[in-house]
């Protein structure tokens, strides 16, 4: 084994921190790291998707009635809102790739607003659920089913899954805010825009979770109603 005579301790910059040899290595590592993190998120949400699948299989009628009581208009609107936010997010990433600071800021702000709109609609939806006595607990009641227990399970899953998703949205909003400030301060260039890139990956992932949550929670056998 030989020791190479390449200077290997260098001054640290944002684009090339001291543990990395090249900026490209750092970029690759950061991207790979975010993707590995996203698959941990797949497994994290996956546990709830298992619970949902099991109980939907056990109680198909109850789940259908419960799902029909969801507000499909809000659900579909929120889906559209998130899809639009994914579009604005990828446009922000594209702007970052091109080094267009003003465009990054514009698209990040749009993404942020759409994300907040999603959270607002979700909050409103939850208050509706509260008023309709669909929150699990002593005052729970769902019309149209005999088995109130499984109906409560549906709504437990609804609140747990959309709650966990909303929590991820809140974190996403926080990340976007940080990105906005950093962009405003001129931290990113076409050569170094990795944080925008990987934040985009996170945002799209959270969108993908919702892409599955929407039909599974809001659209079970709507034709029966």
């Amino acid at each position: 084994m030989k020791l190479a005579s390449q200077a290997h301790v260098h001054a640290e910059t944002l684009a090339r921190r001291e543990q990395f040899d090249t900026a490209e290595q750092q970029r690759d590592a950061s991207t790979l790291g975010m993707w590995v993190f996203l698959i941990t998120e797949i497994m994290f949400f996956g546990g709830m998707f298992l619970a949902y699948s099991v109980y939907r299989t056990f109680y198909p009628q109850v789940f259908a009635v419960a799902s029909s009581s969801m507000n499909a208009v809000i659900g579909a609107t929120n889906t559209g809102v998130l899809l639009c936010s994914s579009f604005t997010m990828v446009m922000a990433v594209r702007a970052a790739q091109l080094g267009q600071r003003k465009a990054i800021i514009t698209f990040l702000i749009l993404t942020l607003l759409l994300g907040l709109a999603f959270l607002g609609l979700k909050g409103y939806e939850w208050t509706l659920k509260f008023e309709e006595h669909h929150v699990p607990g002593p005052s729970f009641h769902l019309d149209g089913v005999d088995m109130q227990g499984p109906a409560q399970i549906f709504f437990s899953l609804y609140f747990a899954m959309t709650g966990l998703h909303a929590l991820h949205m809140v974190v996403g909003v926080g990340i976007l805010t940080w990105l906005l400030i950093a962009t405003y301060k001129g931290k990113f260039t076409a050569e170094y825009m990795t944080p925008v890139d990987i934040a985009g990956l996170y945002w799209h992932f959270v969108d993908i979770i919702w892409i599955f949550l929407f039909p599974l929670l809001y659209l079970i056998d709507r034709h029966l109603k």
Binding site: L3, A4, E18, A29, V36, L50
Partner: protein, 541 residues
């Protein structure tokens, strides 16, 4: 004899001073030592619970503690040992310290996330410790519902939160290791030139990343059920408690491979060095690590054999459980073949390695017993299972951890430990361990249930033997505590390569400089190429 050379040369331990330089460090080597201190504390805490359990079990009627307290003791013993000692142990200490060095890197890919991982373990540990001090948790470390979600009056939420936070420590460590191995190997360090310890750490990291999130979400659901009363595990609502068991064991079975795979990696290193031979069947050992990680995810239902899991699923899980034993067996065969015609020296690490091979084999073979549906119906939830997993976790994983600590101690600290005392404590640990746990196989076979502190009189002799063994074992574990600390000041100064080992970590000074290597290594040899270290062998006793 202490020379002044060590004090003058700058290395990672003396490059900066003060508590901030440790608590805000980004150096993987310092973080490894932070972990070492933390998990050692948790080890002795878990050991304290074990001591109380073993004392209680000296008499058939119990009497030292109430049943409720006994429930808390075995729960907290399990929680502490598994989540706050064994899961982090080798990865967070030896892995953190040596993974970057063994592949020729200056640090892990994400040093600050590495530090965050340590803080998460500490916070999680403090939460669990709070729960223990506030009154304890009595659900068993397995938290089965609906007891944990509805009926237990103990500190389930705090404990679950603590484990949840510690779980993210594990996830982030695994993530860091995966990216580091993929992206930061030195020039010439191809996958098949990496030491087998790295293969084991990589496979372990895969498990950490894919399995732990499921535990996390399961704990979230238990939390929600207890706090918000939104329940999905409650039979009164039509929920299925066995769903909890599926979710829990989906992680907790692969978790045992998180605990054993790094140990196997350490053994590969030690056996090679102290036989002065390359590991036989390198590729088989490397691939078997990955195979264990993958197949280990397919067997969790063997923990549900006596639940209402369907018999057909039981058969599938049983078959797969036999299958997962094969890669482990391959390793044992390869280690044995490595020893064959090797130039064997009996330094302390090697004594631990020998102990590992014997005890892990026993533990692994008894795993086949419990993998059999018919046998498991009789021995599940008895001391047979307890003996089985302690043979692997303690006789296997902890012995390998001790072996690794001794092996790499000179590199980490620049000091040799005292060989005579170290060999003695290895022997004491081996004897104490067998006296503690072999009687438990017999107890379990005879029908002694686990988690009971009141038992029929005829079991007392075996329990007394076991407790006697536990006291010997405790002495065995205390001895290294003393002599390791002693060695920091009075141990012989260690050269760069006291064992004549191959591997990049031995090419740099003991202790290493902050950036690990003076210059980035370029690798041109296979792993375990002893022709490259001729003349560096030091005879050990």
């Amino acid at each position: 004899m202490i020379t002044t050379a060590v004090a003058e040369r700058e290395h990672y331990l003396n490059a900066s001073y003060g508590i901030k330089s440790w608590l805000l460090t980004k150096d993987h080597k310092r973080i490894a030592l932070l972990y070492l201190a933390t998990i050692t504390l948790f080890f002795f805490l878990g050991g304290a619970f074990a001591t109380l359990i073993r004392i209680e079990l000296l008499t058939p009627q119990g009497g030292l503690v109430s049943s409720e307290t006994y429930n808390k003791l075995f729960t907290m013993h399990g929680v502490t040992m598994i989540f706050f000692f064994l899961i982090p142990s080798i990865p967070a200490t030896l892995g953190n310290f040596f993974l970057p060095m063994m592949i020729g890197a200056r640090d892990l890919a994400f040093p600050r996330i590495n530090l965050l991982s340590w803080y998460l373990l500490v916070v999680g540990g403090l939460l669990a410790l709070f729960a223990m001090l506030a009154g304890g948790v009595d659900t068993g470390w397995t938290f089965y519902t609906p007891y944990s979600t509805t009926y237990s009056n103990s500190w389930v939420i705090a404990t679950a939160l603590g484990i949840f936070v510690a779980g993210f420590s594990s996830i982030l460590t695994g993530l860091n290791f995966i990216v580091t191995v993929h992206r930061m190997r030195a020039p010439g360090m191809t996958w098949f030139r990496m030491p087998l310890f790295i293969w084991s750490m990589y496979a372990t990291s895969l498990i950490q990343v894919l399995g732990t999130p499921v535990l996390a979400v399961t704990l979230v659901l238990v939390f929600c059920e207890r706090v918000f009363h939104i329940g999905i595990f409650d039979p009164a609502l039509g929920g299925d408690p066995v769903l909890f068991q599926h979710l829990f064991w989906f992680y907790s079975h692969p978790a045992v491979y998180i605990m054993i795979l790094p140990a196997m990696g350490v053994i590969s290193e030690i056996i090679s060095v102290f036989s002065r031979k390359p590991v036989f069947g390198y590729a088989f050992v490397a691939f078997s690590s990955v195979a264990i990680a993958v197949v280990g995810f397919l067997v969790w239902g063997h923990h549900l054999f006596v639940s209402t899991q369907s018999v057909y699923a039981g058969m599938v899980f049983s078959f797969l459980s036999y299958f997962v034993a094969i890669p482990s067996a391959i390793k044992v065969f390869n280690w044995t073949a490595t020893l064959y015609k090797g130039s064997i020296s009996y330094a302390t690490p090697m004594l631990y390695a020998f102990g590992f091979i014997g005890l892990f084999t026993i533990g692994g073979l008894t795993g086949l017993f419990v993998a059999s549906l018919g046998i498991d119906v009789h021995v599940t939830d008895t001391y047979f299972v307890i003996a089985h997993f302690h043979y692997i976790m303690v006789g296997g994983a902890i012995m390998a951890y001790m072996g690794g600590l001794h092996y790499w101690w000179p590199k980490m600290t620049g000091r040799m430990y005292p060989e005579g005392w170290a060999r003695l404590s290895a022997l004491v640990i081996f004897l104490g361990f067998n006296l503690t746990f072999f009687p438990q196989f017999i107890l379990g076979y005879l029908g002694m249930p686990r988690r009971y502190h009141v038992y029929p009189d005829e079991f007392q002799v075996l329990h007394v033997l076991s407790t006697a063994g536990a006291s010997v074992l405790a002495v065995g574990y205390l001895m290294p505590m003393i002599y390791f600390i002693w060695s920091l000041r009075y141990g012989a100064v260690a050269p760069a390569n006291p064992w004549g080992a191959t591997g990049l970590e031995w090419k740099t000074a003991s202790p290493p400089p902050v950036e690990n290597f003076e210059e980035t290594p370029v690798v041109t040899h296979e792993a375990y190429d002893y022709s490259t270290v001729m003349g560096e062998v030091i005879e050990v006793g």
